[in-house]
Amino acid sequence: MTSATTTNNPNFVQRLARDHSPLVIALVLIFMAVCIIGAATAPNFLTLFNFKTIIRDAAIVGIMAIGLTFVTLSGNFFLLSMKETAALAIIAFATCMAAGLGFPMSFLITMAIATVAGAVQGLLIGLGGNPIVVTLGAAGLFFGIGSWWSDNLVVSFRRPHGAEWLGTGSTFGLPNITIAFVIIAIVAELVLRKTSFGRQVYLIGANRAAGRATGHENFAMAIKVCIIASVCSAFVAVAFSAQVSSAHVNYFSSEFGSSGDMTIMVIATVMVGGNSIMGGYGSTLRSSLGAVFISTVDNMMVLHGFNSGPRVLAVGLMIVFSIMVFALVRRGSRAEE
């Protein structure tokens, strides 16, 4: 039973294969297949402009999905208040901008509101509230406040304003929102892999009771991950508002994305990335890839002239497919408990 001490330090490729099971490989293959089909059938698909469009679309959903991934990985399921948090944030930001507070101040106020919104939900979840119920209630609360605050009207602020760089600006030919998406994705992945907080997310998600027994309480964790998700939501709201120089509580509810509902799209993105719903398994990288994947398929369907019905159907099929592959892969790799 005792064996010689062989220091076993897996190299990068081995670690990649270990952490990102066949599911990711399958996703990448399907992604490539979609790209090839897209290139062959839609003449505009393989243009640089279209590629930028895809990543730009992915950024909006992707940033929110990265935030939500922390919640899901830590075993606290989902926040159903993602789009309502964004709605409240976008009203807050636009109102501040319209009042002439300038970008930095407006941004900070918006983030402070998002932090409080996340902390309140996290507190209730940490005390033992069911995440679904808590955030469903919070969703109504945030949307109501945002709606009341703005009298359900469009709040607009005049160009030029200090947020244009984030909304419509670009650097080296890439939209700044795309660059923000890439930076957030890298930072989130590093936090999960390299910090003790990231490890706690996985441990508590994998087994909350064992997490508690080894000194990692879900109470503090729930508050932290809910704040992360809320802040990501609010960041997307700010970027979106900066782009259109206005805000309305319904911006994230209707006429948005292919399914018309931001929260559902964000949850779909986390699922398509193959993160475990029960927590403890997955990564923000998966969610980022999921966002790009959904965005690519959606883009191709747009180029082929599909309207929203079939596009929503496609997102649904992707979720079902992802969950099936995920379940099969996990069954194969894990010993019976």
């Binding site: 001490t5 062989t6 220091t7 996985y202």
Partner: protein, 507 residues
Amino acid sequence: MQPLLKLTNIKRSYGAIQALKGANFEIMPGEVIGLVGENGAGKSTMVKIISGFDSGFTGEYELNGEALHFSSPIQAERAGIAVAQQELSLIKTMSVAENIFLAGDKVPTFATKRSLSKMAKPFLEEVGLGHIDPSISTDRLSVGEQHLIEVARLLAHDPQLLILDEPTAALGESDSIRILDMVNRLAKRGKSIVYVSHRMDEIFKISNRIIVLRDGESQEPRQAADLDVNSLVELMLGRELNNMFPARVAKQPGGVPMMKVQDLWPDRFLERISFDIYPGEILGLAGQLGSGTGDILAAIAGATQTRDGNLVFKGRNFLPKTPKEAIDAGIAYCSDDRKHDGLFLGRPISDNLSSAALKRISTWGVRSDRSELEMVTENAVKFTVDPARLPQEAGVLSGGNQQKVALAKWLAINPDIILVNEPTRGVDVGARAEIYQKLRELADEGAAIVVASTDIQEITNLPDRVITIYRGIQVGEIALEDMTAAAILKEITDPFDETGLQEGQTV
């Protein structure tokens, strides 16, 4: 008289483990047989074979002189054999009457609640619950009453033979007495009853004869009147212990306690308990299942809500409210259920081993992969876990290796006190010896180790000192020189001479 049931030369093996090696069993009509033995002696296998749950045995099975071999529990039930499992299988939101007729035998196609209640009444009277309204919801009854309902349900099938598997394990005194009364009443009415229990007093109170299982072999049935507690324990343990347990040396009592446990009052305990824990010793908490030994450890570790108490430890007076507080103070705790809260089964072994000491391997919140690998490799080697397996999920390990990982993860915090509930439950013999050895080494290095166990062998041979617990009461303390299985068993099963037998009476 012909035996109701006679099993001869029964053999059953599960893979490499021989659960029964040619055991015999017999019971007369109207007789109460006490079936006793240590954990793992083959009692539950015997019960499964009798009741048709296990058909993969060899040997002769005769019911009323007729050779049979049931292939399912339903066949055994039809032949008149009923077994009440340890775990209740009642549907708590349904009425008592509905539960009694859950299987649907002899119930007309259309039955009203009232007609079911009327039909249920005689069976309730039979188990001594005649005063209960059969139409009330089952969850309004006490656990003891629910056990009686379970038996009433079995009686509805009119069995000849009734097997009760540890019916009182989870019950208090008054509920236990009701069960015993019921057994006596049923036996008088001609039913045969097999009574499986760890509680010596109960076995002596109700059995006509006692059958002892030991290591898969059966002893001749003895008349209960011919035995006493000591001789029964000898029959149960009779084997020689090999060198599984590390040697103990009698230490001089005294020194400065590492921790004083003062007036600790865990839930389920009748009174407050106090004891001292000394550095370098292995202290055993002996008690039966449900006696509350594990609750003491959980209370010290902050893992459960505790009514009251105080720990004097490193000059501090405190009682941890969360495991985190205890861990920060240097107290490590392994519960008896490693799959529930001892391991992260879906995470790599290395993550498990570092889970309690993320602070130690991080600077400013950033983990160092290298110091993590060094730390977990060192601790894996100490507990003889193959370091090459570190990247594997903990869930793929065998029970023994899982337990070693669950224990080894605490080495990372350099604990002063290690509390272990059931250190070797579900652990194979080889890993057992390694765990005992390691616990002893940790004690020799100066840690204080407290072990709670229901395994009488373990609790007799591992600790330097034993505190005995009986149903939520601290009974006494046994020093190394007086530590025998019989002495411990006496204190944890029948400390107040409830069997009416003299201690030390020889056969």
